[in-house]
C-alpha cells in the first residue's frame, strides 16, 4: 500500500530537483545550440558561482540571494571574454572543431577547479540565506522547500526569458540564424562574434547564478562540479541537443526518476536507472525525448 503523503512529497522533491537541473541545462543547451560547443566547464561554472555566493553572502548580512545579481554580471562579463577564445580554437583550419572545443573547455574546467582548491582549500563552504530557509507545508500535499522552489522558478523563468529573446527579438533571430548557418549569417551582415559572446555570456551568467542557488541548497565544494557537468550532459541528451523547450521535460524526467528510484526501489540504483534511461534514449530517439533536437552523433 503506497503512503499517499510520502508519494506526493516524492513528486514534489522530484519536480524541484528537476528545477535545479533546468537552471543548469538551459544555459548548456543554449551554448550547444548556438555555439556548437560541448562545454565541459559547465559544472565548474556552477562550482565557482557557489563559491562566489559563499564569499559575497557575508558582505550582504549573510544573505546569498543578494549575491546573485553580482554573479550574473561578473559571469556574463567573463563568459563574453572567454567566448572569443573558444571561437578561436573551434574555427579556422583546425581539425575536429568539436573535439578542440571539448579539450579547451576541459582545460578551463581543470584550471577553475584547481584555482578554487588552491584559494579556498578542500573544505565545504556554506552559502547562507535567511530569506530562503525552511519549507512551506501545504496540508494534504506536502512541503515545498523554499530555496528549492525559488531555484526551480528561477530556472523556468530563465528558460522562458531565453525563449522570448530567441523567438521574439531581432537579436534572438540573429542568434538563431548563426545557429542555422554561420556563413550565411555573416553574409547577411550579422556580427557573429558579438552575438556569440552575448550567448556564451548569458549561458555563463545563468550557470554561475545557478551555482549560488545550488550552494544555498547544498554547499560549496571544489569537487562538486563534475556531478553537474554529468547532469548537464544528461539534460541535453534527453532534451534533444540544442532544443531549449525540451529542457523542462528533461529536468522533470531526471528529477522524478531520481526521486522515485531512491525511495521506492533503492537509493543505490539511482545512477544505474538514470544511465539506463540515457542509453535507451540515445538508442531509440537520438534527437531527445521529443525528437526535436539535433541528432546525437
Amino acid at each position: 500500500m503506497v503512503d499517499l503523503g510520502l508519494f506526493t512529497q516524492i513528486v514534489i522533491n522530484g519536480l524541484l530537483l528537476g528545477g535545479i537541473y533546468v537552471t543548469i541545462g538551459v544555459g548548456f543547451s543554449l551554448a550547444f545550440g548556438v555555439l556548437e560547443v560541448v562545454d565541459f566547464a559547465v559544472g565548474e561554472y556552477v562550482m565557482v558561482g557557489a563559491f562566489m555566493g559563499a564569499v559575497l553572502a557575508p558582505l550582504f548580512g549573510a544573505e546569498g540571494v543578494f549575491a546573485i545579481p553580482i554573479v550574473l554580471v561578473v559571469f556574463f562579463g567573463v563568459g563574453a571574454l572567454i567566448q572569443p577564445l573558444i571561437h578561436h580554437v573551434t574555427t579556422g583550419d583546425r581539425p575536429h572543431p568539436l573535439l578542440m572545443g571539448l579539450v579547451f573547455t576541459f582545460g578551463l574546467a581543470t584550471f577553475l577547479r584547481g584555482s578554487v582548491l588552491t584559494i579556498f582549500g578542500p573544505n565545504n563552504q556554506d552559502v547562507p540565506s535567511s530569506l530562503l530557509t525552511g519549507g512551506v507545508t501545504v496540508p494534504g500535499v506536502g512541503t515545498f522547500p523554499v530555496v528549492r522552489t525559488v531555484t526551480a522558478v528561477f530556472g523556468v523563468t530563465a528558460l522562458l526569458v531565453f525563449m522570448y529573446y530567441l523567438y521574439r527579438t531581432r537579436g534572438g533571430m540573429a542568434i538563431r540564424a548563426i545557429a542555422e548557418d554561420r556563413t550565411n549569417a555573416r553574409l547577411m551582415g550579422i556580427n557573429i562574434n558579438r552575438y556569440q559572446s552575448i550567448a556564451y555570456g548569458a549561458y555563463a551568467a545563468l550557470t554561475g547564478s545557478a551555482g549560488v542557488f545550488i550552494g544555498m541548497i547544498f554547499t560549496a565544494n571544489p569537487g562538486m562540479g563534475l556531478q553537474y557537468t554529468a547532469f548537464a550532459f544528461f539534460m541535453v541528451v534527453l532534451a534533444g541537443m540544442g532544443y531549449l523547450p525540451g529542457v523542462i521535460l528533461a529536468g522533470i524526467v531526471l528529477g522524478l526518476t531520481q526521486s522515485f528510484t531512491a525511495v521506492y526501489i533503492s537509493g543505490n540504483l539511482v545512477l544505474l536507472v538514470l544511465f539506463a534511461i540515457i542509453y535507451v534514449v540515445l538508442l531509440v530517439s537520438p534527437a531527445g525525448i521529443l525528437g526535436k533536437g539535433e541528432w546525437a552523433t
Binding site: 503512503d3 512529497q9 512541503t143
Partner: protein, 424 residues
Amino acid sequence: MTRKHGDRRTFLKGVGGAATAVGLAGCAGLGGGSERDFFKLGAVTSLSGDLRFGGGVTQRGYDLWADTINREQGGIEIDGETYEVEIEYADAQSNPSAGADAASQMINDGADAVLGPYSSNVTLAVCPIMEQNSMPHITGSAESPQIWQEGYEYSFGTIPTVSIIGNEATSALLNLDPQPDSVYVTAVNEPFSVATGESMRAAAEEAGITVENYEEFPRDTDYTNVVSAAQDADPDLHLHGGHIGSHVNLVNAAEQLGYNPDGFLMHYGVNTGSYKDGAGAQGPYTFGATVWIPSVDRSGGALFDSPQAYADASEAAYGSAPDYTQAGSTAAGVVFQEAFKELGSAPPLTQDDKDELIGILEEIEVNTFYGDVAFETEGEYFHNNINTQTLLIQLGEDGSPSIVGPEEAATDEANYPVPAWDER
C-alpha cells in the same frame, strides 16, 4: 667542420657524463643507499581527489609528529646518536589503485616504514602491498573493520575500528534521557560508511530499540528523498554513516523539509572545520563520535604532554584545531618513534630490522596525548588499537564540540532533544 664534430662529441660526452652522475645521485637519494643518517618514512595519503580534505588532515598529523620530534629532540635517539625523521609523501589520489601504486613507490624508494592513507578504501588496497613486501605500516586514520579482519601481519592502526566507535557512540546516545523508542539509520555506500551505519544499527538493536529502516545510497544522492522517507517513518533519532559532505547535505535537506527528530548522530567528522563551515546554521546540536578532542582528560606522555598541548602545537603550526584523525596520525608517528628506539637499529633499517619491528609493535604499549596505544594480537581486531575510549560529542551553538557521553567521560550535559529547526 672537424672542430664542430669535436665540439659535438665533447658536448655529448659532457651531457652523458652529467646524466650518469645525476642518475647515480638520484639512485642513491631515492633508493636510500646503504648509508643514511635519518629515518625515512613513506606516507601514502590522498593529496588530491574527493578525499583530499581527509588526506590533508592525516598529512598535518604526520608532519606535526616529524617536525616536533626533529625540533624538540633532534630526532630519534639510537645508542646515543640522534637521527632525524623525514617523511616522503605519495599521492593516493583518493583512489585505491593509485594508493596501491603510491605504496609500491614508497617501498621502492627505500622507506624504513610507512604511514598509512586516509580512508578505508585506500587502506584496503595498500595493506596487501605492505604484506607482500614485509613493510611495517601504521595507519592513523582508517576505521573499517574489514582491514583488521584480514589479519595483515605488517599493518597496524591507531584509531579503533568504526564498528566499535559507531556502536559505543550510539549506545551513549541511546542512554540519554528521554530514551528513544526508534531510530532511522542511513549510510553512504562505501566501506567505511556502511560499517558505520551497520554498527549504529547493531547498537540500536542490542538496546532493544526499533530500527525503522536501514538504507544505503550513493554519495551524490539527493537527500530530500532520504529525508522524506525518514520523515514518513517519524523516528526519535536519525543515525548516519558517511563523510562530511553527506552530513552537510543531510542536515540541509532536513532543515528544508522540516524534519525534526530528537537528534542527528553522524560519523565521521562533525567536529571538523569542513562540517562547521559547510553546514553553517544547520551545524549546531549535531551529535558525533570521536575518540579524541583537545578537552578530553588524558595524561599525555611521549612527545606531547597533554591533549591540549598537542592542540596548541597544531594551532601554532597550522592555525587550525586538530580532530581525532589528525591526532591518531600523529600518534602513529609517536608509536613508530618508540618502536624504533626499542629496536635500537640505526637507519636505514634492514629487512631483519623491519621483521623485528613487527614483533616490537605487537608488544608495545605507548602512553601518548591521544591515549594509551596497544595493538590487538588476535581476533577480529588484529593489530588495531581498540584501547582508546569512544566519546559522544555534540556541537554547541558556536560549532565547538563538547563531550556529552558516555556518562563516565562526559564533561557537559547534552542539549537533548535538540531544538526544532524553526526554534533555533
